[in-house]
């Protein structure tokens, strides 16, 4: 326990921000993040499945598409021209990307459906393995009555089926089954306990009923089922296919799979340990606290040398402490935030890449962010709320920013590296080496810290105001949405933007110069979204502050929702948090001003693409969008940009053959430097001397700026070892 801080008082002698009370907080006063952490794990596994099926498509169907696409391209009007390969190539490949995406999505759906089947099967296997049977009503009338009473007190929607492992001497109970058919397993030793120590039995029983009431069973078992379904239906087939053709790829997949497995295992264990605490807390609400404490006191120390992180149960001492004083449940846990950031970063990188195959780039990035960001935001916001509630009522500082920033930020920065997408050389590969990555990671950490700071500061306001209301949700909900929206922006725009800036290699100066010019395409389409987010960021704390105005800020009727026992303690007066509000206002102004600047830039229009012309015979559908230094940059209405590199490519050194670098990065990663665009193809017109032509595809909105940025990159074309 932290040392209480002195209580501050206002001019009238009333306690203010340092309000302290000894009343116990209710562990369920605010939502926990445990279910969402399960969802994040599922998202990471789903993303890995998407990627593996995408890779499998290349093996199964890629070849059959290659020739028709090549023929189509060669048959285009510009094919005969040796200088500029032209043609409606996007049309040639129109069926390829959507099919690949559909294949990946279908495979993933199969994994999820199979996981559901496994989820339904697991209880049957569990019942069979332990030979669990129903206990006859006549044989154990008292036990059945205890169960009936506990279920009634819990108000469960469905009565659990009670089964017994009769010959098992352990004093043990476990909840399992499915959401529709919950089951309680009791060992023989526990049934004996029902006779010799009924209160202890009822305490254990209520703890297990609490697991059912907290919906722990479906979350736990569906996560386990999804993992095994992923291994059997996605990982094993893909590894089997690639182990023959590309063992290095399998090795790159291997360590990532291992890390994913470790992540799933550790997070599952951590969530299960947390669930035990919350089940204890809920059982205590039903009056089982003292007996639960007694049973926990009787628990011997865990045997074996298993590391605490590998255990599914917290130590009995810790459980007893939290049973008596739930304050420890109100804080932010750095490792939890780290795991959440890792899962979110991994999932986002892959989902976005797959979505990019079938959707316009902007839609893909925002769509993927909309899937992942709310989950991450829930972990962050719920952690901030709980920590700030404890801080407010105890009058002590509770660390929020540090754990959230370091945990989530490091997780988000490392997530793309660990994603399966990176196994094939995607996303952060384009950054120039370790230095570039370090810059990128640092900026990611910084921006995550900004969101975390906002979550904590605005969350405190919402909690303080919520303490004066019968329900805090009218204030907490907007705050949660605002945090989610901030993460959407961070993921959808920040990742790509930071990646671009983070390229600290030889091309950094060029990229920095072209950054401003390409801003409109980065944010132009999302201007409205950014404006909305800025509005939310401002509105949420404003609403909380408004709620604290005038008499509402003074001592008022106590709110019951935070407390375990009633009546709740009286509310103290509170000072309006002017300083924090000012900071939040500044943040909002910066965001909105940035949005306005971006919006103005976006309206500069087509003059940006004007320049000295480069005359080439253009087929229908292609336009000379930009030319610089004798380099033709051609754009098409299908979102393609095509470049002939030969005018600017120096002779390839015969003695030290290297890789062609454009703007300081390998030619094959140029697409990564163009927001909203990706490399479709390198053309080796004069093989084997290297790629002399690039074709890049992006969303129509990003096309102009992509060609602009490309022209900047083309100012530096060289061979590099």
């Amino acid at each position: 326990m932290s040392t209480p801080a002195p209580v501050q008082r206002d001019a009238d002698g009333r306690p203010v921000a340092g309000w302290r009370t000894s009343a116990a907080l209710s562990p369920r006063a605010l939502p926990t993040d445990t279910s969402v952490r399960f969802l994040l794990l599922l998202a990471a596994v789903v993303a890995a499945s998407l990627y593996l099926y995408e890779a499998l498509w290349v093996v199964l169907r890629g070849e059959s598409f290659l020739d028709p696409v090549r023929d189509c391209e060669m048959g285009s009007p510009g094919a005969a021209d040796s200088t500029v390969l032209l043609g409606p190539q996007g049309e040639c490949r129109a069926g390829t990307d959507p099919e690949q995406a559909a294949f990946a999505v279908t495979g993933t759906v199969v994994v999820l459906l199979a996981a559901y089947g496994v989820y339904r099967l697991l209880p049957l296997l569990r019942t069979r393995r332990s030979r669990l049977v129903r206990l006859d009503q006549d044989d154990a009338a008292a036990l059945h009555e205890d169960v009936r009473q506990a279920v009634a007190d819990a108000g469960l929607e469905r009565d659990p089926e009670v089964l017994v492992d009769a010959a098992n001497p352990a004093v043990q109970a476990f909840a399992y089954g499915t959401a529709r058919h919950p089951r309680l397993g009791l060992t023989g030793g526990l049934v004996v306990l029902q006779v010799v120590d009924p209160p202890a039995f009822r305490a254990v029983l209520r703890h297990e009923i609490a697991h059912l009431a907290n919906r722990d069973v479906p979350w736990t078992y569906y996560t386990v089922a999804t993992w095994w379904s992923f291994v059997a239906l996605a990982l094993v087939p893909v590894v089997a296919v690639f182990v023959v053709s590309d063992i290095r790829y399998v090795l790159r997949l291997g360590w990532r799979t291992l890390l994913l497995a470790v992540l799933v295992l550790l997070v599952r264990n951590a969530v299960l340990r947390a669930r035990e605490i919350y089940a204890d807390a809920r059982a205590a609400e039903w009056g089982a606290g003292p007996d639960l404490d007694r049973v926990l006191r009787m628990q011997p120390a865990p045997r074996g040398r298993r590391h605490p992180l590998l255990r599914l149960h917290p130590p009995a001492d810790a459980r007893r402490r939290l049973l008596a004083d739930p304050d420890g449940l109100f804080g932010v846990d750095g490792p939890t935030a780290l795991a959440a950031g890792l899962a979110a970063g991994t999932a986002y990188a892959t989902i976005r890449a797959v979505a990019d195959l079938a959707l316009p780039s902007a839609v893909a990035s925002v769509g993927a962010a909309l899937l992942v960001a709310p989950l991450l935001a829930t972990v962050v916001a719920a952690g901030a709320w709980r920590a700030e509630l404890r801080s407010v009522v105890r009058g002590v500082p509770v660390p929020v920013n540090g754990p959230l920033t370091l945990g989530t930020g490091i997780g988000l920065a490392a997530g793309p590296l660990l994603s399966f997408q990176a196994a094939a050389g995607g996303l952060v590969v384009g950054v120039d080496g370790a230095g570039g990555y370090a810059v990128w990671a640092a900026v990611t950490l910084l921006s995550t810290g900004l969101v975390a700071w906002y979550a904590a500061a605005a969350g405190r306001l919402a909690v303080e105001a919520g303490l004066r209301r019968s329900s805090p949700w009218p204030l907490l909900a907007p705050h949660g949405v605002a945090v989610a929206a901030a993460f959407v922006v961070l993921l959808a725009y920040g990742y790509a933007a930071l990646l671009y800036v983070g390229g600290a290699g030889p091309g950094a100066a060029l990229r920095a110069r072209s950054l401003w010019g390409s801003l409109p395409s980065w944010f132009g389409d999302g201007g409205l979204l950014l404006l909305g987010v800025a509005g939310l960021l401002v509105a949420a704390p404003l609403a909380a502050s408004w709620s604290l105005r005038g008499e509402a800020a003074q001592a008022g009727p106590p709110a019951a929702w935070p407390w375990r026992e009633l009546p709740p303690p009286d509310l103290p007066g509170v000072r309006r948090p002017t300083g924090r509000l000012l900071l939040l206002g500044c943040l909002a102004v910066v965001v909105m001003a940035g949005t306005a600047v971006v919006g103005l830039s976006a309206t500069r229009g087509p003059e940006r693409v004007e320049g000295p012309g480069y005359t080439v015979p253009l087929p229908a559908g292609w336009t000379a969008a930009r030319a610089a230094d004798d380099v033709p940059v051609l754009t098409s209405a299908d979102g393609s940009v095509q470049v002939d590199l030969r005018p600017v490519t120096p002779a390839r050194p015969a003695t030290a053959p290297g890789v062609l670098h454009v703007g300081g990065v390998p030619a094959w990663s140029v697409g990564l430097q163009l927001q909203g665009a990706r490399l479709l193809r390198l053309y080796d017109l004069d093989a084997p001397s290297g790629p002399y032509r690039l074709r890049i595809r992006g969303s129509p909105g990003a096309l102009e700026s992509a060609s602009d940025a490309l022209a900047e990159l083309l100012m530096e074309v060289r061979w590099s070892g």
């Binding site: 044989d139 017994v164 010959a167 476990f174 004996v192 006779v195 386990v224 599914l312 149960h313």
Partner: protein
Amino acid sequence: MTAESERATVEALARQVVAEVSPAELPLFRATADRYFADPDGTLAVRGRPDEPLGFGAETVVALVGPFALDLVRRVVGRLVERLGDAVADAVAERVLRRTGAGSGGVASAGSASGSSGTGAGGGDSPAASGPDPLDPAQLALVRQVADEEARRLQLPPDRAQQLADALVASIATRG
């Protein structure tokens, strides 16, 4: 002695042993017996699973005697059949089943049929009085000896095993 009769006898005797030594296990007895007869060795070897997901109390165990009582009784009855013959064993079975009320069906009939042609009628007004005679002292001594020998083979602490043997002998020796 038929297998059906033997199982019924073993169950009835074992239930009496459990009632004497560990009555708190009686709610479990029927389920334990079903499991034991389906898989005797597996039932005796059951251990708790450490760290069960969503479980509670993994580290604490109690010494359940039910499976061991069944095992002891089955082995003792088997050896008595070998040493004393079916007729005596059937007589014991009939008395036990009558006393416990477990033999009202076909099992009891089988026991009665053999018992009625056994060692002669007893006296008294109790239901057992009209059944077969109780074991003579020599036979009881043999039961004692066999029960002690078999109890020592159980994977139980010696004093607990001896309790089971004592309870078994008492149950067999009880007139009714």
